[in-house]
């Protein structure tokens, strides 16, 4: 139970003024702009968009600035903003196969149609701090090469042609697509809802869950079939217009995890899959998501459910960092009356204990 505190209003107002002052920091240092955040802290923006579950670079940058770089606070701000806007509808499903690829690697095949493309990556850097960045540097102009017009099919589509990998589940006729922003979560949850939950889930949580499967808690022998990052076009079927209207492009990262086999007396063995998809360049997030997606398919694939990453109620109930931080952080709000009743109970118990342990009582008990 929360209790009003007299005089709190002014203190709160002053605390927020002080926060605004601290947010700005030393005023002899130039103020950071939203463009600077969006352009130079792009991966932070990507994470806030993914977990805020709202694709809007400018809003994510504003949230990061307002939250002083606290990304979970920024995600919270974005989620709250989202609730103020009406929803026009749902897009046509994006086609990641038609992605304008900026990066695309496979750990399973070295020669893939369209090639392996490293793109802008931290991979193979030496992770040494670069003092030149402290001064401000003009980077070299990117190298160029003749652009290929060859298509870049998904690696899983290539494996699928030979039947070596299970095909993706088809939509059932007339089945609606689950939306956890509209209906409360119920278990067991279908894979569409699980993927929506994971897509907005906390990267750190998913990373730990994915890692736990690698360490043996729900092992499923993963290989990165493919990671791709780039732009995909979005279309929205606007009834008033009468056709699917192009809205522009968004950046997405997709991870196709290829996992160990399933098969039965009637079905030839084939690889199984886990899937990850997120806004922006979010490689660690989509890899973790794909590992956890695969682990959560344990029941469907007839595997024993023993590890936390295989337990959908555990994973889905704890993946959302806005929910999690809300419940953890509410502990710091005034709980004076609750605590008073606990205190009263404890005093009573201590008194009973003391009475039971007076020298007379002890003696009585000994006899």
């Amino acid at each position: 139970m929360y209790v009003a505190v007299k005089g709190g209003e002014r203190a709160i107002e002053n605390a927020h003024r002080l926060l605004a002052h601290k947010r700005r920091g030393d005023q002899s240092v130039a103020e950071i702009s939203l463009d600077q955040i969006s352009e130079q802290l792009g991966l932070a923006v990507d994470r806030v968009m993914s977990e805020g579950s709202l694709y809007d670079r400018e809003l994510a940058a504003l949230a990061i600035k307002q939250a002083r770089g606290d990304l979970i606070e920024a995600i919270f701000l974005v989620r709250a903003f989202r609730a103020t806007l009406p929803r026009f509808g749902t897009s046509e499903p994006v086609d990641t196969g038609a992605m304008q690829v900026q990066r695309r690697v496979s750990a399973t095949f070295k020669d893939i149609p369209g090639g392996q493309i490293l793109g802008p990556t931290f991979d193979y850097t030496h992770r040494l701090l670069d003092p030149s960045l402290a001064q401000g540097v003009v980077p070299q102009v990117p190298s160029t090469a003749e652009a290929s017009t060859a298509p870049t099919p998904r690696v899983t589509d290539i494996l699928g042609r030979d039947g070596l990998i299970e095909s993706s589940p088809e939509a059932e006729d007339g089945a609606s697509v689950g939306d956890l922003t509209r209906e409360p979560l119920n278990f067991p949850a279908d894979r569409d809802l699980r993927l929506q939950n994971l897509a907005r889930g906390d990267e750190g949580f998913l990373l730990a869950m994915g890692y736990s499967t690698q360490r043996g808690y729900g092992r499923n022998h993963p290989f990165v079939g493919e990671i791709r990052f780039g732009e995909v076009e979005v279309e929205f079927l606007a009834e008033e217009v009468g056709f699917a209207v192009p809205l522009g492009a968004i950046e997405l990262t997709e991870c196709q995890m290829v996992n160990q086999f399933k098969g039965s007396a009637t079905e030839a063995p084939c690889f199984t899959r886990g899937y990850g998809l997120a806004f922006g360049q979010s490689e660690r997030k989509t890899m973790s998501m794909a590992l956890v997606d695969r682990a959560l398919r344990a029941r469907e694939l007839g595997e024993e459910v023993r590890a936390p990453a295989q337990d959908e109620e555990f994973v889905m109930s704890h993946s959302d960092n806005v929910q999690a931080t809300g419940f953890v952080e509410h502990l710091k709000l005034p709980h004076y009356v609750d605590f008073q009743s606990e205190l009263g109970l404890l005093r009573k118990l201590r008194q009973e204990f003391a009475e039971a342990n007076t020298p007379d009582a002890m003696k009585e008990a000994a006899e």
Partner: protein, 154 residues
């Protein structure tokens, strides 16, 4: 040409124009439109911001799922001659949505269709292609060519 084919052609043309306009900045569209005298028009629906739930597919090609939302701005414009245009774009730039709606109405107009295609859409498409080509060439330079490495070693 029968009516259905004509309708489909116009729809394809409108969609192609929208696909270009959605990638342009409001200022770029406005600057191109300033080059000609526009017919009288009015807002049929003032620009409004909202959300569209973006969908992906399980495994990339399977059943759809909800990935997360995006901000979208939309507007509708009617020319004095009756054509109604719609504008939709990612983001919250209402002016851009209005300009796209205006262009969509113009694309449908007998008198302005050709003009807006040549004066607005075509140059913006060219600009988009140049940008894409540049990005594709930078990306291509990071392609790992295993065959070349093998030859180099031999």
């Amino acid at each position: 040409m029968d009516q259905v084919t004509q309708h489909n052609n116009q729809q394809a043309q409108r969609k192609a124009a929208m696909a270009v306009l959605a990638h342009a900045e409001a200022g770029e569209i406005a600057a191109r439109l300033r080059n000609f005298t526009l017919p009288a028009h009015q807002d049929l629906r003032a620009p409004e911001n909202g959300l569209v739930m973006l969908r992906g597919r399980i495994g990339g090609d399977g059943a759809p799922f909800n990935l997360g939302e995006a901000t979208v701005s939309r507007a509708a414009v009617r020319l004095a001659s009756g054509e109604v245009g719609f504008g939709y774009t990612l983001g919250r730039d209402g002016e851009k949505a209005r300009l796209i709606a205006l262009c969509d109405a113009l694309v449908q107009s007998r008198d302005f269709g050709g003009l807006v295609e040549r004066g607005v859409i075509a140059p913006l498409r060219e600009q988009l292609m140049v940008r894409r080509r540049q990005a594709a060439e930078e990306t291509a330079a990071t392609k790992v060519d295993f065959y070349t490495m093998v030859r180099g070693e031999g």
